[in-house]
């Protein structure tokens, strides 16, 4: 096992997730490499420090204050919660033809912005509905970009399904305030398609890249690679992605790096 692989797999090692054979190789490397051993030691210390952080003292009257506010009526659903729920229920993009949905969505957004500004509750449909529903707010595109693809109305704990994936782009467009583009469901039939939005992770992690690629149906792989190549090119990461695939992801990674480069440099650069 070489340095990059040892460093990459330290998390699994600490967690005891490394298969036995890999663990032996890992240990063997550690025995002869002071730098990696020190690295691991520092990582372990970091985890211990985190876990040893003293618990903050909960304010003594916290529960009483909450109960008092509920008794004062603050715990009742507000009128805009009802509107948001209604918007969610009619879900225009799902039940109306895409064009009509686009018009309706745009009209409501335009009127909402013109007359009331963005902040009026009920005119910011999916984000506030999801927040109300207990899901991570998909509207926070800037601060938590990777949390934005929570499928709407997905009950807690239910796995992402193909229909969630198919629905997502239109919903994302609505969150962004644009008209939803018509999305043929077949083009997004695989749940793996949903993971496309994790581009930053995928591009930066050769193993994840390989994993995603493998999970795709054969006929969709070329399109996916093209999409990744385009994203990598935007971030000037094509070379880095190919290099990581070659160095860290084994023979399959090396083969995939070739394909990736072929797609990324169609002119044979």
């Amino acid at each position: 096992m070489n340095h990059p692989e040892v460093r990459r797999r330290m998390g699994e090692y600490l967690q005891g997730d490394l298969p036995l054979a890999q663990r032996a190789l890992f240990d063997a490397h550690l025995d002869g490499c002071e730098a990696c051993a020190a690295d691991l030691h520092a990582l372990r210390e970091t985890v211990h420090l985190l876990r040893d952080l003293p618990s903050p003292e909960v304010p003594p009257h916290l529960a009483d204050r909450i109960v008092a506010r509920i008794e004062d009526g603050e715990g009742r659903a507000r009128w805009w919660d009802g509107l948001a729920a209604f918007w969610d229920w009619i879900d225009p993009a799902r039940y109306l033809p895409p064009l009509a949905a686009a018009s309706l969505t745009s009209a409501v957004l335009i009127v909402g912005v013109r007359d009331y500004g963005w902040q009026i509750p009920g005119t910011l449909p999916p984000a506030s509905v999801e927040q109300a529903d207990g899901f991570v707010d998909s509207g926070r595109l800037e601060e938590a970009p990777d949390l934005r693809m929570q499928p709407r109305l997905r009950p807690p704990g239910r796995a992402v399904t193909a229909s969630d994936a198919a629905e997502e782009p239109a919903r994302r467009m609505r969150v962004l305030g644009a008209a939803p583009a018509a999305q043929p469901a077949a083009a997004l039939e695989s749940a793996a398609a949903l993971e496309l939005v994790e581009e930053a992770d995928v591009i930066d992690d050769p193993h994840l890249f390989l994993e995603r690629y493998r999970a795709l149906q054969e006929e969709r792989r070329a399109a996916w690679l093209a999409q990744m190549a385009e994203r990598a090119a935007r971030g000037r990461k094509v070379e880095a992605v190919a290099r990581r695939l070659r160095e860290d992801a084994g023979p399959e990674g090396r083969a995939l790096a070739e394909q990736f480069e072929a797609v990324a440099y169609p002119a044979g650069r």
Binding site: G11, H41, D81, A144
Partner: protein, 217 residues
Amino acid sequence: MSTSVGHQIVERIPSRRPAVDSAADPDAELIARWHAGDQAAFETLVRNYQDRVYRLLYRMLGSAADAEDASQETFLNLHRHGHRFRGDARFSTFVYRVAANTALNRRRTLGRTRARIEKLAERQATGHDLPEAPPGPEQSTLRRELQRQVHEALATLPDKLRLPLVLFDIEGLPYAEVSDVLGLAEGTVKSRIHRARNALRDRLAPELEALATESPS
């Protein structure tokens, strides 16, 4: 830095809780009573969960005052929308989701992250806003200082790394539950936790080195 390669180094850090079992939700009875209109049942849920919610929000927002406000908001939201909880996951997962959502929302509202971090550092430097649990006698001054640094370094991590890290390493949720709370694949959760730990380690490098020098193992 010279570090000994001993057995301590290869010791594992295990998960602190068993995997999620949504079938047997210990809160099922309380939830049923609350849904039937029993407000006392909701109050019990508040008292049962206030610690966990407050801890998460404290680590996410970095200050006691913000954590308290956000905790109240979390439970009010829970009360407003709890009827939508359908029991597909454990109630605790649902509570964590609402709390995580509240934290993200609050950070967005407050914006000005940099100013807040500076303010936090200033308050920490004067001894305010730190958890009040008394340190054990064996705890060195350096270690306490380190905890202060860890708390501060945590505040500088991006939300997408901090949330899974706090849920896993501080709250002790298993991967499966973190994945449920955040709606992310388990592999992604693991990868983010690892990246978050690495980022923290890098930010704490000088302090960790000092610690290693103080107590060579």
